[in-house]
Symmetry: C2
Subunit: 204 residues, 2 copies
Amino acid sequence: MTEKKRSRPAYHQSYEVIRDWILNGVLSAGTKIVEEKIAAELGVSRTPVRESIRKLENEGLIVNKRVVKPSEKDLRNLFQVRILLEGYSARCAASFLGEDELHSLYECVEIARKGTRDEIMNVNERFHEIIVTASNNPVMIDIIDRMQSIIYLFRKTAVFSNRPHLIDEHEQIYQAIKAGDGEKAEILMKNHLQADLDFCLHLM
Amino acid sequence: MTEKKRSRPAYHQSYEVIRDWILNGVLSAGTKIVEEKIAAELGVSRTPVRESIRKLENEGLIVNKRVVKPSEKDLRNLFQVRILLEGYSARCAASFLGEDELHSLYECVEIARKGTRDEIMNVNERFHEIIVTASNNPVMIDIIDRMQSIIYLFRKTAVFSNRPHLIDEHEQIYQAIKAGDGEKAEILMKNHLQADLDFCLHLM
DNA sequence: TTTGTTAATTTTGTATACAATAATTTAAAA
DNA sequence: TTTTAAATTATTGTATACAAAATTAACAAA
């Protein structure tokens, strides 16, 4: 029936809907975002929609009332930060990752070798998520989370184009972490992200 | 007369006022923030105040409708990120900083040796600002900016207590940058920030 | 055409009213 | 007293109306 989840406030729900519209291309890059129009489509007033938009602006998904269209420079800048933070996280992971998480990490590699595209997308995202969580630093996790939306838009390209060695690189990182070699894990992670960036920029 | 700056929207002005109230201790750590009360004090409606509060929540200056009271762990986490990003920025500065900015950097050191407390606060902030700008990466600059408010609250402690060697460390960093030694600049910056953190935590 | 200017329209910004929820107080029962 | 439940109050969440600003359209002059 027409049951609505009443738990979360409207500004939160509409945030999620709008974000998904952007990530799935329903709202494509460059589209003008008009509060009233979105509000009408969602069946709520402008007030909660306004808040959602502000949050999306914060994440960089909306810029100047338009769906972002990141330039090559934007992506390079984003990845520079990501390389620093995830590189450090990989180093932490080598020291602090527990048995079970280590196993989850390996599963991500395994599934990525034989899964469907959607599965691959998921486990590759999860691979990075496990490592970032190992930093055990909410500030860092939060910053990386904020970048996720744009990274997501971007990563689709890499997987749909089946970048060579991507999974191999994940496996190498996994091995370094398992071996407790933080130095190596960090370097491999940095190179991995740089390769990802270069490959995708090359396609554009 | 009662001239108001009409240029910027109310939500922006009130953001700045509330932020300053927090930074100057007019609103002290733990204080409950109530939209209507703030709105009344500012002579505006809740609508723009609401937006301001959301932005401050974003910066971490308001948490759970209360003025933040960062724990030691919070500060350690924040500084871990700062060390990574500003360390990298210092390395960039060694390669890319121009003559005039280099000179500004030196001025910061000079003034810090003989200025008043307020002047010292200012030039020390500026010292870091110049270096961060040298990263030439808006994403990175933006993240560090977001952390500035909490860092500001924190830095007061360090200067008012006159931490030993603080200016010397700045000068060493300046020298490394001037010499174009990125490796050294990065290491010195990281140590400097770590020392800052440790000193202030020690006082708490 | 192009340019510049005014008018029309759209869109955002702000105030206000009311609804939903959360916090607090009050009062009754154990 | 202490505890619980109900009622009250305070606060946030949402809708709506109107004002201010930005954008677009229309049209006159070069």
